[in-house]
């Protein structure tokens, strides 16, 4: 890659090195199904952080919430509001799933912003699984709920009759590209943000005293990354709601 050529000039930038999945113990490179890697370790940390917030934070169940409890309540209320907004009261049965998705993505995005950490959601392998689960849920649920009538989703009855087959093709393609765009949006955003941070980090030692300038910029970009972490978690979840809405109430 270009990085190896650049290192000869004194400036070495390895923006993609941070995304490497490697085993934590044993030193070898071979990875089996159950090898503990940095990716799985950070996923476990995400799980621990979420459990700490939601289980320990809500243990008091005080009428006047403590700070931790009110964060947990705000999270819950936010997602609950989003689900009822898009899916209606009927969709509340999917709330646990959507809440789990949101909290997992939000926390892995936020923990990924920590220096020297590993952003779990920057890997398409992980966001791809999340998106495929949503996609297959929509298909299975759509056929279970509506039977063969689910296919009407692709048949735009509001359009003039000669246009309908063409629109059906377009709808079909846009339906099947969903898991791709759904997963790549999240992974791409996280990967791009972290790669930009790494590139700027390489400028800091290279510029000696003037390195303070890229360092200040990095602080600003980290702030932006915090915003992106929240927004991407929100977008992934609300898209999940919208896709589920297709299965519950096919509009066309």
């Amino acid at each position: 890659m270009a990085a190896s050529e650049a290192s000869e000039g004194g400036l070495s930038i390895h923006p993609m090195e941070q995304f490497e999945v490697r085993p934590l113990f044993g030193g070898g490179d071979e990875m089996g199904l159950l090898t503990i890697t940095n990716s799985t370790m950070w996923m476990a940390l995400v799980l621990a952080a979420v459990s700490a917030l939601l289980i320990l934070g809500m243990r008091g169940r005080a009428l006047v919430p403590t700070r931790v409890q009110s964060i947990a309540e705000i999270l819950y209320g936010f997602v609950r509001h989003m689900v009822t907004d898009v899916l209606g009261e009927d969709g509340v049965r999917f709330f646990p799933y959507i809440f789990t998705l949101f909290v997992f993505i939000l926390f892995s995005n936020l923990l990924g912003v920590l220096p020297y950490s590993f952003a779990v959601t920057s890997h398409i392998a992980i966001t791809g699984v999340l998106a495929l689960v949503v996609f297959s849920t929509v298909i299975v649920l759509g056929f279970v709920r509506n039977g063969i009538g689910f296919l009407k989703l692709f048949w735009v009855s509001a359009a003039p009759a000669p246009l309908r087959p063409v629109l059906a093709m377009i709808e079909l393609i846009s339906f099947f590209v969903r898991p791709l765009s759904h997963s790549i949006r999240l992974a791409g955003n996280m990967m791009a943000g972290h790669a930009v941070l790494k590139v700027f980090a390489a400028f800091v030692p290279a510029l000696s005293v003037f390195g303070i300038l890229p360092l200040a910029l990095m602080v600003a970009i980290t702030g932006l990354e915090l915003l992106v972490a929240g927004v991407q978690a929100y977008i992934f979840t609300i898209l999940t709601c919208i896709y589920l809405k297709d299965a519950l109430q096919p509009a066309h």
Partner: protein, 79 residues
């Protein structure tokens, strides 16, 4: 050797060209937020309900830029 160098050149040029997708995403997001703001300033009472739609639109516009980024990454690392 010649062919390999040409392939490498094409790879890097292609990766650079894929970044043009970001221009489209930028235009799209600018349009979206601009028209949201002009609508929101005319009728601030209705603005808050549309924030979710705004973010959704941004996500769709941004997806195209991300696809360009993906193609650049694929060219650099996978091809």
């Amino acid at each position: 050797m010649e062919a390999e160098a040409a392939a490498l050149l094409g790879k890097y040029i292609g990766a650079g060209l894929a970044c043009i997708a970001m221009a489209g995403a930028g235009i799209g997001i600018g349009q979206l937020v601009g028209s949201y703001l002009s609508g929101a300033l005319r009728n601030p009472a209705a603005a808050k309900e549309q924030v979710a739609t705004l973010f959704l639109g941004i996500a769709f516009a941004e997806a195209m830029g991300i696809f360009g980024f993906l193609i650049a990454m694929l060219l650099l690392f996978a091809v």
